[in-house]
């Protein structure tokens, strides 16, 4: 099976997809060419007419040259999304004969409805860079199938007389750069075969491109796709996390030391709300991947794979901490797999098609989680009034952040996340439902804006109608929680927005 494209062929594929979908997407190029001069292009998908306030998602592949499945998966996913959008068809990733290991007892495979995909594409800015290390990619195809780094020639020579070549692009970012958490995973030695971090943070054009891109675009979700461990990883990679002392954070650490963090008891701070969010979304992704063919992906911090510094996803997430004016980006590593007995077959299986289904399901799940149906409705309501839309968005996110603070609140948000695909599907396909949901969002915004306003009986009836409507089309395991939501909402006549939020923060739907 001819499974893997050259860098040029990957570029031709995304150019052709863009040419066939000119109103939905276009190609773009990253700021700098590679060390050997290759122009690095990607695909920007942004269907529909809505302007501004879209959540941004960046999917990155091919950082490590030998991990050949991931550029293929990203290009494949782009094609699947564009075909679904053009034809109005569902996307199903399934392998006949596999056991459904996902929750519930639905049909085999992971399916996303055409309407949900359309709404997702019309509410997100999706940026895909299938292959960010073109020189390394083609070197794998032409010369050394286990090459990992870029192709930067370094000065000097190594012990065996060869010239040192290459920097690990996933060790070259400005997050605890040049600190060596343990042997083998990061190195300051240019002769290191695989994990040389480079002479300085962002010394390499291929990694500097990511820094520049994140500076220029408000990216909410970033996923760097690697192989091969069947993991969904979130920050941090350089130290175990702690959630109690914000002052113990990476900005206090020396960089470029080429030695470990001096204090072996050091723990990196992560906002507890972010940690729960990472864990919840990670579990949702793992659940969706399991539906495809039963693959078990484990969710955890990056350090659970092995300690690292200077990686892309952690740099992305660190930006808003290092610079409070920077946009907050949730950074993920998706490690696809599995290990199949030896390293060559694991990085470059002769038939990667089943694994690519898993990878695509993981990325599509993350995309679906990144599209907020209520934000989408809110954006529609406020139309071209960008300031009002931004206020509304800020309000929604503030209330969401408050709910994250309690167990019951998090349970509600979890229910809402699980309902994303159903909500998006209904918004896309049912004008009446879309209108009723829009009214509810309007009511919520009006109540939030006026502390003296309270929920009326009419408001309650409108809300119950939407809940009943939603329950009728939701998966069975979510209906019980929706019944709880119904019972709770029924009691809220006369409540202010603040009072309603307080009740929801204390009463779980479970």
């Amino acid at each position: 099976m001819s499974a893997y494209r050259t860098f040029a062929q990957l570029g031709q594929a995304i150019a052709a997809l863009a040419g066939a979908s000119p109103t939905v997407c276009e190609t773009f190029t990253l700021a700098q060419p590679s060390v050997e001069g290759a122009v690095i292009s990607g695909l920007h998908i942004h269907a529909g007419d809505a302007k501004g306030n879209r959540n941004g998602v960046l999917l990155l592949g091919g950082v490590h040259a030998r991990e050949l499945m991931n550029p293929e998966a990203i290009v494949d996913l782009a094609a699947d999304l564009l075909i679904s959008y053009a034809q109005g068809t569902d996307i199903t990733y399934a392998v006949p004969g596999s056991i459904n290991a996902g929750p519930g007892s639905g049909p085999l495979g992971a399916t996303w409805g055409a309407g949900a995909i359309r709404m997702m594409l019309e509410s997100l800015d999706i940026w895909m860079v299938p292959c960010s290390n073109p020189d390394g990619h083609d070197y794998v195809l032409s010369t050394d199938n286990l090459w990992r780094k870029n192709r930067r020639p370094e000065k000097g020579s190594c012990g065996d007389g060869t010239q040192p070549v290459g920097v690990d692009l996933n060790r070259n970012c400005a997050i605890v750069f040049g600190v060596i958490p343990s042997y083998g995973e990061v190195s300051c030695d240019p002769c290191d075969y695989q994990v040389y971090c480079g002479p300085a943070a962002f010394s390499e054009p291929e990694s500097a491109n990511i820094e520049k891109f994140l500076s220029d675009h408000p990216i909410d979700t970033f996923a760097d796709v690697h192989s091969y461990e069947q993991l969904i990883l979130y920050p941090w990679g350089h130290a175990p996390e702690q959630t109690t002392d914000p002052a113990e954070n990476f900005t206090t650490l020396l960089t470029g030391t080429c030695s470990p963090i001096p204090d072996s008891s050091y723990r990196e701070y992560i906002d507890p709300v972010d940690l729960i969010w990472f864990q919840f979304i990670g579990n949702q992704i793992a659940s969706d991947v399991a539906k495809v063919r039963g693959s078990v992906y484990t969710v955890g911090p990056s350090i659970s794979l092995y300690p690292t510094t200077g990686t892309n996803p952690e740099y992305a997430y660190s930006r808003h901490i290092a610079d409070q004016g920077a946009h907050k980006t949730y950074g993920w590593t998706i490690e696809t797999g599995p290990f199949t007995g030896n390293v060559v077959d694991s990085f470059q299986p002769s038939d990667p098609s089943d694994i690519i289904l898993d990878i695509k399901a993981a990325m599509l799940s993350l995309l679906m989680q990144s599209a907020c149906p209520i934000e989408l409705i809110g954006t529609e309501l406020f139309g071209a009034d960008a300031e009002a839309a931004q206020d509304q968005l800020t309000g929604i996110r503030a209330r969401r952040d408050r709910l994250w603070q309690t167990d019951a609140g998090r349970a509600w948000l979890e229910l809402y996340r699980q309902l994303h695909p159903t909500l998006l599907e209904r918004i896309a396909g049912d004008e009446g439902f879309r209108s009723r949901l829009g009214e509810l969002v309007e009511i919520a915004v009006a109540l939030a804006d006026d502390r003296d306003s309270v929920l009326s009986d009419d408001h309650i009836r409108s809300g119950l109608a939407v809940i009943d409507d939603l329950a009728a089309t939701s998966p069975q395991h979510l209906r019980i929680q929706l019944q709880t939501a119904r019972a709770l909402f029924q009691t809220m006549s006369g409540f202010s927005a603040q009072a309603a939020l307080a009740v929801v923060a204390e009463r779980s739907p479970r």
Binding site: M1, S2, A3, Y4, R5, T6, Q9, Q12, A13, A16, L17, G19, A20, S21, P22, T23, V24, A47, L82, I83, Y85, A86, Q87, G88, V140, L141, T143, D144, N145, L146, W147, R148, S157, C158, G159, D160, T162, Q163, P164, V165, G166, Y183, G184, S187, D189, P190, C191, D192, Y193, Q194, V195, Y228, Y306, F339, G341, N342, V343, V344, Q348, S350
Partner: protein
């Protein structure tokens, strides 16, 4: 001028896939420069050259080799040719253009 890796792995002609276990008073300095892979059953999993094996063993480790990989390009049968790449494009583009929205 050498063309590649800057380590003896590139010059040896073969990479050995192995797990490494500590034996007697191991010196972790000897592990520098190895191609460390995700752990295998909790053990240190590496690609290593024959000459590196000798150094690592001398430094107090046991090396269990279980696969050998000749250094060379990807199996040419796995590289998509231009005709296949073009066929992939044409199939997808036809589906997009045949749809309602594009």
């Amino acid at each position: 001028m050498g063309t590649a890796a800057g380590s003896s792995q590139s010059a040896a002609g073969v990479r050995l896939e192995a797990i490494i276990l500590p034996r007697t008073s191991p010196d972790p300095d000897a592990l520098r420069g190895l191609d460390v892979l995700p752990p295998l059953d909790g053990e240190l999993h590496v690609l290593i050259s024959p000459s590196q094996i000798a150094e690592v063993v001398r430094a107090g480790y046991e090396v269990r080799v279980f696969a050998a990989h000749p250094i060379g390009p990807l199996d040419p049968d796995l590289v998509m040719d231009d005709a296949a790449a073009q066929a992939w494009i044409e199939e997808r583009v036809a589906k997009i253009r045949g749809g309602r929205r594009s």
